[in-house]
Symmetry: C2
Subunit: 351 residues, 2 copies
DNA sequence: GCAAATAGCGCAAACCTTTGCGTTAAAGTT
DNA sequence: AACTTTAACGCAAAGGTTTGCGCTATTTGC
C-alpha cells in the first residue's frame, strides 16, 4: 500500500530484520512449518503481519534454485494458433493451474531444430516436467530428458522406441471410419489431404485411409494422396490440384481443421458446392463446423480428455516419481460426427 | 552423448575443474566476454570443448537470480481457447521468441481475483515484463507494477487512469461502422449482444452502437441491448431471447467471435435463415467466416499488429527503460468486411 | 636493467531461499 | 541440586551465476 518506492524488492531478510527474528524462522513460518519447528504463535503472527505490511512476494527463482523445483511445466506445441492446439493448450493451462503449476508455452512451427532449442530452453528454466507434441522426426532430445529423469508426457503424436508416458488418439480408426463412411455413401474416388509427413498422426491417418480402401476392394490411387503439412495453404493448393485432375475425386478427406479451411477456400473459388458437387470430410471438429454452408461431417477428437489426462500423467510422474517399467500409454477413441457434407453417390464412379 | 547418468546437472564448476580454470573465466568465455577480459584463445577453445563434451546447459534460475533478468515475459489473457486470444497469443509468442524471450501464459477466465493472483505469480517468477489483457474492473495490481518499474503493456482492453503502454483497437468505430452498415441496409430494429460488461471493449462497442443509432435518429430500445460475457452460451441464450421477443429485431450484432457461435446455434435451432429471416454482423473475423451458410459480415481486428506491437512496446520498455512521461498508446483501426449475412430491408421496419 | 604497461586469469561477494544441525533458556523430573 | 526434556529459534552452507576488483607474470619502453 505505502509501497510506492523504487525497484527494491522485499526479501526474507527485510522481514527478519523488521520482526527481529532470523531469516530461517521467517522462512519456516511463511511456509507453514510453524508446528514442525515449534515456533511460537507470537512470532508467527508477527511475521505474517510484517510480511503483509511490506507486501512481500517470494522470489521463485531463489526458491527454485534451492529446491530444484519450480512448479512450472513446459509445453511444446507445433502451432498455438491452430484451433486444435489452442484448445488443448487452454485445457492444459487450466489443469496445470488447478494443480498449482504454471505453464511456459513454446512453439516449434513443426521444426525439429526449433523443438530441440525449446526443450533446451525449458531445461535451462528448470521446469518440473514436459508435455510435448513432437514434430516426430527425431527423438534424441526427448530421450535425454528421460535418461535424466525429467518427467515427460508425449501428447497427440508418438515417437518410435521412446519410453515416455503418452496420450494419443487412435488416428487409424478415425481415418478408417471417415473413409468407410465415404465408401458407404458410394464414393470410390476418395482423395486425402495429409498434414506433415512422418508424424505419427499423419502416418496413421494415411494407413487408416488405405486400409479402408483395401478392405473394400478399392484400388489406391497415388494421385489422390496429397499434402505435406498442417497449413491453410496446403489445404488450398492441394484441393485446387485435386479438383483439376483429369479424373477428379468425388470426395475429399481433409486431415486437419486448418487444412479444411484451405480446402473450403479452394472449393469456393472453383464454384464447387458441398456436398452436391463434391463431398468433404474433415479431421477435427470446430465450433463453426455445424454452421458452414454445408455442415461438416468430421472426426472429432476428445480434446478435453487429451489435455486433462496429459497433465494428470505428468503431475503424477513428477510427484510419485517414475516407474521405470510402467509408463502409461493412453489411447483415446475419436468419434465420427455425421452432418451434411457428404452426398450419396448412387452409381459408384468407377476407377 | 555419453551423458546417460543420473540427475546430476553439469555446472560451471564442473567445466572449470575439468578445464583447470576458474569458474569466473568459464562464465566469461561462455558469455562471449572473451575479448573484454582478454582471455586467451587457448583457454576459450578448451572451455567450449569441455562444455560441449559435458553437455552443459546453463541454469537459468541461478542466472536470473544473479542478473535480475529472466528473459521471460508474462502474458495474462482472459481465455486462450477463444480463437481471437489464441491467435494473438501465437503472435506474441512468435515475436517474443524472435527477440530472445520466452513466454509464461496465464489465464484469468475474466475473473479479477484470478488476474491478481496470476500477476503476483508472474512477479514471483521474475518475468521481465507483462502483457495484460485485463478483466477491467480493477487496476491496483497493475499500478503496483508500474510503481515498481516493472514494464507493462495493456493489450486490447484499457483501464482508466493507468499510465501504462497500451495497444488498443478503436472499438467505438468498429461498432459504429457495423451498426451504420445495418442502418444503411434499411435496418432499424437492431439488437446487440455484448460481452463482459465494464470492460473497455464492451463499453466502447456499446457506445459506438448507440451513437450510430442516435446519429440516424433511431430510438434506442433497451430490450435490444443484451449479453454480459464472452461465452458461447451467452450468444446462444441472448439470441434465443431476442428472436422470441414480441417484436424481434431484424438484425443482430454479435460483439465477439464466440458469441457469434452461440448466435448461429440459436438461429439454426429457431430455423431462421441468415440473411433472409434475420441479418447478422459480428465482431472478430475467423477463418471459417467466409464459408458459413451465410458468409459473415464482420468487423475485423488487426490481430497480427496487436500482438506484434505489444511485444515491441514491451521489449522497448524493458531494454530502454521507462520514459516516465511518454507511455505510448497505440490505437489501431478495425475494418468492416462485408460478406453476405446482411439483407437489404427496402421498407424500414418502424419501431 | 628498472618501471610501466598489458595479458590472463582468480577471489569472493551477491542474488534469495531452504534446511540440517546446534544452541540457549526454561520447564520438568527425581 | 543435578539432570533430562522441550520450546524456540539461529548459524551457516548450499544452490549456480555473474562481476568488480585485484593479483601475477610477461612484455614493452627507454
Amino acid at each position: 500500500m505505502l509501497q510506492v518506492s523504487g525497484k527494491m524488492n522485499i526479501t526474507l531478510v527485510d522481514i527478519a530484520k523488521k520482526a527481529g527474528l532470523s531469516v530461517s524462522t521467517v522462512s519456516r513460518i511463511l511456509n507453514g512449518q510453524q508446528r514442525k519447528y515449534r515456533i511460537s504463535d507470537k512470532s508467527a503472527n508477527l511475521v505474517f503481519k510484517v510480511a503483509e505490511e511490506l507486501n512481500y512476494k517470494p522470489n521463485a527463482l531463489a526458491r527454485g534454485l534451492r529446491l530444484k523445483k519450480t512448479h512450472t511445466l513446459g509445453l511444446v506445441v507445433p502451432d498455438i494458433s491452430n484451433p486444435f492446439f489452442a484448445f488443448i493448450t487452454r485445457i492444459i493451462q487450466l489443469h496445470a493451474h488447478n494443480n498449482g503449476y504454471s505453464l511456459i508455452v513454446c512453439n516449434t512451427d513443426e521444426n525439429i531444430e526449433s523443438e530441440v532449442e525449446q526443450v533446451n530452453l525449458l531445461i535451462s528454466k528448470g521446469v518440473d516436467g514436459f508435455i510435448i507434441m513432437p514434430v516426430g522426426t527425431q527423438s534424441d532430445h526427448i530421450e535425454y530428458l528421460i535418461n535424466n529423469e525429467l518427467p515427460v508426457v508425449l501428447l497427440d503424436r508418438t515417437l518410435a522406441n521412446v519410453k515416455a508416458g503418452m496420450v494419443l488418439v487412435d488416428n487409424f480408426k478415425g481415418s478408417y471410419d471417415a473413409t468407410q463412411h465415404l465408401i458407404n455413401k458410394g464414393h470410390t474416388a476418395i482423395a486425402i489431404v495429409l498434414g506433415l509427413r512422418n508424424t505419427s498422426t499423419t502416418n496413421e491417418r494415411l494407413e487408416g485411409y488405405k486400409q479402408a480402401l483395401i478392405d473394400n476392394g478399392i484400388e489406391i490411387n497415388e494421385k489422390y494422396i496429397v499434402g505435406n503439412d498442417f497449413r491453410i495453404e496446403t489445404g488450398y493448393i492441394e484441393t485446387k490440384f485435386l479438383v483439376n485432375l483429369e479424373k477428379p475425386p468425388t470426395a475429399i478427406f481433409a486431415t486437419s481443421d486448418i487444412i479444411t479451411v484451405g480446402a473450403l477456400k479452394a472449393l469456393a473459388e472453383e464454384n464447387l458446392k458441398i456436398p452436391d458437387d463434391i463431398s468433404l470430410v474433415a479431421f477435427d471438429d470446430t465450433d463453426f463446423a455445424p454452421y458452414l454452408s454445408a455442415p461438416l461431417t468430421v472426426v472429432k477428437q476428445p480434446k478435453e480428455l487429451m489435455g486433462e489426462i496429459a497433465v494428470k500423467l505428468l503431475i503424477e510422474e513428477i510427484q510419485n516419481g517414475h516407474d521405470e517399467f510402467e509408463k502409461p500409454k493412453i489411447i483415446l477413441k475419436p468419434k465420427l460426427v455425421i452432418r451434411n457434407s457428404v452426398v450419396s453417390v448412387s452409381k459408384p464412379v468407377s476407377i
